[in-house]
């Protein structure tokens, strides 16, 4: 199971969990698993077309999936995924 780190702004949709485990052969499957567990996260991550919202960045290890194969990026069992939202506080 891969581990996905949830940033603070989204933790209210994951029962306060900072990290959740997700399974899947690629990012799309892992995200489906995530949304299955926490359905209220969906509108915060996906737009109406089913694509990740442009301001949401998902990293596998230290690489942005936009620089890899997007939602088709394969992941292994030990993958560490990071969800990086845009925040503006100062």
């Amino acid at each position: 199971m891969a581990i996905l780190r949830i940033p603070t702004p989204l933790r209210s949709y994951t029962d306060g969990q900072a990290e959740v485990t997700v399974s899947g052969a690629n990012i799309a499957e892992a995200m489906d698993h995530l949304i299955g567990k926490y359905p209220t996260l969906k509108p915060h991550l996906y737009n109406g077309d089913g694509n990740l919202r442009p301001f949401v960045n998902l990293f596998v290890g230290e690489n942005n999936i936009k620089d890899l194969q997007g939602l088709d990026t394969p992941i292994d069992e030990n993958a560490r995924l990071l969800l990086i939202p845009s925040i503006a506080g100062g």
């Binding site: 702004p9 949709y13 900072a18 301001f55 960045n57 230290e62 990086i84 845009s86 925040i87 100062g90």
Partner: protein, 386 residues
């Protein structure tokens, strides 16, 4: 040709002696800092430690941009200000502290919001920009200004326990828009005024921001160009990710189509401040005195869309609490035929709740303008304002 660096006086040599002892800084580095300039955009949570440490470090000229006045709710984190400067201009309050800390430096103040109209008048005069703003429009503006002027933009951003830091320098790496091509839709990402922030967080993050600025100005170490630092205070975690230049970036990519500053409030769909005062607009708002009158006449359902822990600070009796984040899933608990007034802390979240309710067919809803804080101010002085 290399610029001629200013010399250090006897007093300055003593003042900066701990820097002069570090070989990576030394006399030449300190003279570089004296000959350099930095524009600090925002003198709030991040701007406080940034400006204090840059001044202490001996940056020769520091510009401060802010249009706000010091409020007592700032002092939990904005340590450049003090109780004695509540109500005063932030730039003047900050300047007084900086000049006291280091009278050897020059502090320029710009008591105005940083906008498309003045940014290219203010920023060209500085070597480096530090983004300590509190809203998306000013962040996109700062990025674009830095790209157009070819200057580094030391970026930091905070929310609750999370912080982000990077050095966006389009000449050498990605810019802010390479990572975030578009802002989030209005209302989807809560601001610090709405969601809160741990007071020490901007201290940690702003200090890292100042460190990066000093490294860039000195030309030492490995600045966070092409890297983003993600900090979480609760987990005490530091994660780094790689950032690449986006070939489709609209401001720094090879086919960039944005060549001048735009209307950033329109681009982001939100105002360029974080004041959390929401109004749903004419016909949708009800003021606190109007609501008080209505409640004397007949029953009106009150819907409080704040988080449950906020009810411990202040609450209205009889109000039903459904936090905004869960409202969409709990609409069945409400009767669309019933007259209803929605409120939150200051009117921002309730405006979004009203939009959600209106789109779900609720026609008899109003927004309490200014939220429960307005009620506390105008109707019930026993309630605290937060």
């Amino acid at each position: 040709m290399e610029p001629i660096l200013p010399g250090l006086t006897r007093d300055e040599i003593l003042r900066y002696s701990r820097h002069l002892l570090i070989p990576e800084v030394g006399l030449e580095g300190q003279r570089k800092l004296k000959g350099s300039s930095a524009l600090v955009i925002g003198t709030g949570g991040l701007g406080s430690p940034v400006a204090l440490y840059l001044a202490a470090a001996g940056i020769g000229r520091i510009g401060l941009v802010d249009y706000d006045v010091v409020d007592s709710s700032n002092l939990q984190r904005q340590v450049i200000h003090g109780t004695s400067t509540v109500g005063k201009l932030k730039v003047e309050s900050a300047k007084a502290k900086l000049v006291d800390l280091n009278p050897e430096i020059q502090v320029d103040v710009f008591n105005e919001p940083f906008t498309s109209d003045n940014a290219l008048r203010i920023a060209p005069d500085y070597d480096i920009l530090l983004d300590g703003t509190d809203n998306f429009p000013t962040r996109y503006l700062t990025n674009d200004v830095a790209v157009f002027l070819g200057k580094p933009n030391v970026y930091a951003s905070i929310y609750r326990f999370d912080g982000q830091v990077s050095v966006f320098y389009a000449k050498k790496g990605p810019c802010y828009r390479c990572l975030f091509p578009e802002p989030p839709p209005p209302g989807l990402v809560p601001s610090c005024a709405e969601g809160g922030v741990l007071g020490v967080l901007p201290g940690t993050i702003g200090t890292i921001q100042a460190t990066e600025a000093l490294k860039v100005l000195l030309g030492i170490g490995e600045p966070l160009i092409g890297k983003l630092l993600l900090y979480n205070a609760l987990d005490m975690s530091f994660d780094f990710v790689k950032l690449k230049k986006n070939p489709n970036c609209r401001v720094c990519g090879p086919n960039a189509d944005i060549k001048e500053l735009i209307d950033y409030e329109a681009f982001c769909g939100v105002p360029s401040h974080d004041h959390d005062e929401g109004s749903a607009g004419t016909g949708w708002d009800i003021t606190a005195p109007e609501l008080a009158d209505r409640l004397k006449q007949n029953h009106l359902k009150l819907l409080d869309v704040r988080e449950p822990h906020e009810l411990e600070i202040s609450a209205l009796p009889e109000a039903v609490n459904i936090p905004l984040g869960t409202l969409a899933a709990r609409l069945s608990e409400l009767d669309s035929a019933e007259e209803m007034v929605v409120f939150c802390k200051s009117g921002s979240r309730s405006t979004r709740a009203l939009e959600l309710l209106a789109s779900a067919g609720f026609k008899k809803v109003k927004n309490l303008k200014g939220g429960i804080n307005a009620w506390a101010k105008e109707i019930d002085p026993k309630l605290p304002i937060y």
